[in-house]
Subunit: 213 residues, 2 copies
């Protein structure tokens, strides 16, 4: 049998095809004190883009909701300690919302750190918003990256990272953003990088986002 | 005793004072199928403005979360059927988020309709976003008001209301808006009308909202 070059699909086309054909999977972390807008906008927009989102509760009790930064009560899909998570670390993205107390819980949790570092090392997307960027540093995302965060925690990041005041920063596989008011831009930027620009643009239309994000 | 005009405080000063001194109270409705961004952004921003928010579950089971439009699991503070709500109808605002299924549940619920109509009749703020505006009509908010909504449900509203394509519409005590992407503007407009422009402006700064909402 002869080998026919016509059947060889160029690499970029395969990448393009699989990015639409295969369901992408993302973890979004949730703890007591997580900022509920940053969490909800991230999880909702990723799911609207057909990403398979698992909300992972950090240091929550079984069947108890996270009490978010401003009182919204949100239940995770699974807990960080669940066997389901242990056996299934094939995620395409990990997202850490802000909220000072929730970020600190994630920052100080060895298992969250290990998951974030593992995703980063696999060149998967790791995304942090607001005080969530503190988790990047605690997880060992190396020096040299450019990041942003909520302005109030900037001083805790400038010893390790190049710091930007942009509303969202994409530096290779590290995506960072600033505050509740930048959450739409943050989530849509994750979608653009994980699923594609077409999907992000369609969502902007469907959701009637502002002309300036 | 003589009556001294110096002790008479001008009416506008009293209004100004009480609007800051007295805690305002708002209901935000939550049902299965409620759009989680529209819900969360409204509840969170009102609470950031020191409004005492009660999340009222509509047709939910005790201790069960609402499964929102895109899968976020949110627990209400109380249920529509709770005695706590019965005896305490002194709210300053009622907010109905969108999400088609959640809006329909609220639209068809006689008790939600009665609460909204009662608030409206007392000249309290009634606020609807996305498909939530369908609840205004079902509750008997009268003809003549100008409203907006998610574009897809416009046709169900134009027989009763003047329809606007603006991202938010304030028509006396009726505030309406369009979609997840207009939720920040919607919630901040409620704050502006319920608490004051200063509070709304401060929140915009704190949350780093976009220059265009
Ligand atoms: Cu909606």
């Amino acid at each position: 049998m002869t080998y026919n070059n016509d059947y060889i699909v160029p690499l970029e086309n395969i990448t393009f095809f699989t990015s639409f054909a295969m369901t992408k999977k993302a973890i979004v972390f949730l703890a007591n004190g997580t900022e509920e807008m940053e969490f909800t906008i991230s999880a909702d927009i990723l799911r609207r883009a057909k990403v398979d989102v698992t909300v992972v509760g950090v240091e929550l009790e079984k069947d108890k909701p996270a009490i978010c930064a401003n009182g919204t009560k949100i239940l995770p899909d699974i807990l960080l300690t669940d066997k389901e998570l242990e056996g299934n670390l094939s995620y395409d993205a990990g997202v850490v919302p802000g909220g000072l107390k929730g970020s600190h819980t994630c920052r100080d949790n060895k298992k969250v750190q290990a998951i974030i570092k593992n995703l980063y090392d696999q060149k998967k997307i790791v995304a942090f918003i607001c005080a969530g960027t503190l988790v990047a540093k605690a997880s060992g995302i190396p020096k040299g990256h450019t990041v942003t965060s909520y302005p109030a925690v900037m001083d805790q990041l400038t010893d390790t990272y190049e710091y930007s005041q942009e509303r969202v920063v994409v530096d290779k596989n590290v995506i960072t953003s600033r505050a509740p008011g930048t959450s739409f831009l943050f989530a849509l930027t994750i979608v653009e990088n994980l699923v594609g620009k077409e999907a992000a643009d369609q969502l902007k239309k469907d959701m009637l986002t502002s002309s300036v994000l």
